[in-house]
């Protein structure tokens, strides 16, 4: 292991700091550009990929939200949420939560223990850009994301000397969010500080049908608070040479509400997440060569408690665990443009995690490390002005063992001379290492596990048209097909001890459809976005050979998912509407209708906004009604969800 660490550092050193002198102008990606067009023209190196870029305007107006809500409302991804403030996991195309990779400014946010990300812990306030790579396209930046990957970026504003905003929001169930953003600098130096604090009593009322009382109850023990800051320092040594240092700290303390059927208990369950992340990025861009070096260091400390109180007020703990995760990563990205038709790309990456956890009640725990050294080499070529293709190969070595090669290739074809109609096709093979819990958890961890293997292909049609100077439309249709083998599942064995095994083979197929429209005049602006996904993610094989699971939809994966967003800006006022539809989900592997099938539901929200400008200062007010029709729904079995809620936020920007 030490050897691997040394090799990793040596290689990064060689590639990252190799001196080259190029004195060309800076490329566009360093500037923060307001998006005017419906879509941005795809660069050669991203042709053939299925990528979703969340509109910057949506990100800006939702800075009080959390990442789970944004992805649920504005993309084809499916969010499984245990409640506001509680665990929220994301899946692409009917795959598992651990098959979604999330990176922020070069740092992987997946917790190496369960291998997944809790999206409710990622505040939108620090995020400036969101890109999604679906299916095999995720190999473009990394590995392990058998479903897809989410890339988050926080960025400076180079064109501003001094800027900032002060935000306050207040909402139902005792929810408050206060945040401040301050930044500025000169042509060669920028600094930005964002500070936030969010808290909620989360004591919403709900009608309990699960405990025999059939009455309205107030949700207990679901309160949470999050505080944090993001500091950025950017140095521009030369026009094409930028150093950035990011420091992100967050402390989240959350209580988790009991199941609805447990409301007559004195159970308590809480978690404290302490995260500190440093990201150093050095970008050096030239006419032919682009270099980007990332160094990251992160620490996560998680304290989890679960207990009951007896009749005589004795607290009986069930779990009392502490986890400490320290991760280092280094990445070097190189893009060499031989000419405008041919690009070579290479990413060399190394990551190391040291995990230790211990539960005081059960006296179990483990201390393990994971080191991964990988290299992704790809070539991208335009064969003529309408046809391009890429070939990619990722190789990976880990302290657990060697991973088989991960190849990918794709083509991008412009179907019409005049119109922007594209056909994309992509094939790949990807692997996902078992998480540290899968391997080492006691009881049940299985150190003989094999990595999960994914073969995927997708085909897309994209159509973009700027009809006239006011109106533009973008639509895309992507059909996907993938097979995931050796899917790791935890199953209870004798006497309630669960164990992890490579049990399943899953076929995930379906399509993702997106329609985006944009209409803009001097006084009126209209935006529309619709995402619909059809996902049939089914069991192909189960080595336990059990019952009626073959051909059945995976639990908690809806076949149909739709979201729609419409916004109208008239001078300084705005009104927007969100609709989210989640189809029926089964909670039995045999898809029984009469046993635990969660019905489909739709949620509506409405937001009214007003902007007042006083000299250089802007005042924005937003009034939002979530779950407008007070819909009753169950996202996860036996968990209460809030009805209608209101929120008001006020933002002062200068």
């Amino acid at each position: 292991m030490n050897k691997l660490l040394k090799i990793g550092i040596f290689l990064i050193g060689i590639f990252g700091f190799f001196p080259r002198l190029y004195s060309q102008s800076i490329t566009d990606s360093i500037f923060y550009i307001h998006e005017v067009q419906v879509y941005a023209k795809t660069a050669l190196e991203e042709r053939g990929l299925v990528k979703t870029h969340i509109d910057n305007s949506i990100i800006k107006t939702n800075s009080f939200s959390d990442l789970a809500s944004i992805l649920s409302n504005y993309s084809s991804l499916f969010i499984k949420s245990y409640g506001q403030g509680s665990l929220a996991t994301v899946s692409f195309r009917g795959t598992a939560a651990s098959h979604t990779r999330v990176d922020w400014n070069g740092i992987n946010l997946n917790n190496p223990m369960p291998g997944q990300v809790d999206f409710s812990l990622i505040p939108m306030f620090i995020v400036d850009e969101i890109s999604l790579y679906h299916g095999g396209s995720s190999l473009y930046e990394g590995s392990g994301a058998l479903g897809g990957s989410v890339y988050l970026k926080s960025m400076p504003k180079w064109d501003r000397k001094l800027y900032g905003s002060l935000n306050q929001s207040v909402g139902s169930f005792g929810s408050y969010n206060t945040s401040m953003d301050l930044g500025g600098g000169k042509q060669d130096f920028q600094m930005r500080l964002r500070v936030y604090r969010e808290s909620s009593k989360n004591d919403f009322e709900f009608f309990n049908t699960k405990n025999g009382e059939f009455n309205n109850q107030i949700q207990k023990n679901a309160n949470y608070k999050k505080s944090g800051f993001l500091n950025e320092i950017h140095l521009r040594k030369a026009k094409n040479n930028v150093f950035s240092l990011y420091t992100w700290w967050q402390l989240a303390e959350r209580n988790f509400a009991p199941l609805m059927s447990m409301s007559q208990s004195r159970k308590s369950e809480s978690q404290k997440d302490d995260d500190l992340r440093f990201s150093f990025i050095w970008k050096k861009y030239g006419n032919k060569l682009k270099l980007e070096t990332n160094l990251g260091l992160s620490y996560s400390g998680i304290l989890y408690h679960s207990a009951d109180t007896t009749f005589n007020s004795l607290v009986v703990p069930h779990y009392d665990s502490q986890s400490d995760i320290i991760s280092y990563n280094a990445k070097n990205k190189l893009e060499y443009k031989f000419n405008s038709d041919f690009i070579l790309r290479n990413i060399l990456d190394f990551s190391f995690s040291d995990v230790s956890n211990y539960d005081r009640v059960w006296q179990t725990g483990y201390e393990e490390t994971r080191a991964v050294l990988g290299n992704t080499l790809s070539i991208h070529k335009y064969f003529n002005q309408n046809f391009s293709a890429f070939a990619l190969l990722r190789t990976e070595l880990s302290d657990w063992g060697t991973i088989p090669l991960m190849p990918s290739f794709g083509i991008d074809l412009k179907l019409d001379e005049d119109e922007d109609i594209y056909l994309k096709f992509n094939l790949s093979r990807n692997y996902h290492l078992p998480s540290l819990n899968d391997l080492y958890w006691l009881p049940g961890g299985n150190s003989d596990l094999k990595p999960e293997e994914g073969y995927s292909g997708d085909m897309s049609f994209d159509f973009d048209k700027q009809v006239n100077e006011f109106f533009g439309v973008h639509t895309s249709f992507t059909a996907f097909y993938s097979i995931i083998d050796n899917w790791i599942l935890w199953r209870p064995g004798d006497f309630s001890y669960w164990t992890a095994e490579n049990i399943k083979k899953v076929r995930s197929q379906g399509f993702e459809y997106k329609l985006k429209t944009n209409y803009q005049t001097e006084t009126l602006k209209f935006q529309g976005l619709i995402n619909y996904s059809y996902t049939r993610s089914t069991n192909l094989e189960d080595s336990d050979d059990v019952g009626e699971t073959i051909g059945k939809q995976l639990i908690y994966v809806p076949v149909n998912k739709l979201n729609a967003f419409f916004k109208m800006n008239l001078r300084k006022n705005s009104i927007s509407y969100n609709y989210g539809f989640t189809g029926k989900r089964y909670t039995t592997s045999s898809n029984e209708e009469q046993r635990g099938a969660l019905p489909a539901y739709g949620l509506h929200s409405l937001t009214f906004g007003k902007e007042i400008a006083v000299k250089d200062i802007k005042l924005n007010f937003n009034f939002k009604v979530k779950n407008l029709l007070n819909t009753d729904y169950e996202a996860v079995l036996d968990r209460a969800m809030p009805g209608r809620s209101l929120g008001l936020n006020c933002k002062i920007t200068f």
């Binding site: 049908t209 199941l259 009986v316 009881p443 336990d544 019952g547 039995t588 036996d638």
Partner: protein
Amino acid sequence: MIAVNKKIIYYLMVIFLISISCERDKGIAIFEYEKSAGVFILNEGNFTSGNSSLSFYEPALKKLSNDVFYNANGFPVGDALQSISFNDTTAYLCISNSAKVFVFNSRSFKHIKTIPNLVAPRYLKVINSEKAYISDLYSPYISIMNLKTNEISGSIRIGHSTENFVTYGDLLFVNSWSYNDKIYILNSNTDILLDSITVRKQPNSMVIDKNNKLWVLSDGGYDGSPYGQVNAALTKINVDNFSVEKIFEFKDIHNSPVKLCINPGADSLFFLSGGWGKNKDIEGGVFAFSIADESLPTKAFIKENNKNFYGLAIDPESSHIYCSDALDYLQSGYVYSFAPNGTAIDSFKVGIAPGGFGFLKTSR
């Protein structure tokens, strides 16, 4: 004319609104109960999903009814249904992860009362017409329940988790398996903890035979447990002097036998054994052991084959053997019934993860 029309419409609206508000609640089917001896099957469901359920099977009619509690009451059982006990026409459900006990009528399945705020209730033992004991997986106390008022009236401090009960006169034996190796002895008249017997690690079930010997089945702990792992064993104890008379050790350390049961004649023991996880090579199934046997059985009495046996019980009246198959724990399971000689009688589909059984007699 217009005014009259308006009035008619108004009245029609009122009638319409009244009629729809009197609509019967959806989801409560009218259950028809026929008085016949029956078996309750306790479906545990998935931990933290709240999807436990109760099934009722009448062997004389080969008739099965699923979700009997929900259908009679309109609300579900809760999370991790562990056991059922009977007292005349009343029955008690220990719902372990919902921290409560339900008191209900065993004939109509109608809910009578909820005993809330327990910790993780496992088994309820009716001591006499006035009181019962409730064991707990996490709490160091056994709760004493007043059966007249259906309320908790006291507690006995054991200091460890407790599981099931076996009576012998005034004595009550309680096994404690979680990171423990003890059988606690209580005086059920005075509610006093008298003594304890040390057995093999993690005693999970016990029975008493016709010669008044207490048999305890221990699984020995799991691989990598901080409490340690030893071979599973069946221990024979003399209940008069609390001494261990014989220990039958299971050869394979990966064997984790559970669910020790006894036939009505109290001379044959049955238990579930088999590998889990990595250890699927051990032949799984229902094993039979006579109290006169010198060594443990090596072959299964009823082979599991590719099933996943999870629960086992023996009907104290008919001697029929019932075992449940939980499949992958994520779908409806099955129950198989056998004659005392191992011949298959019936099989039926129940709820998720069927683990426990309860036998109801009409003569009670």
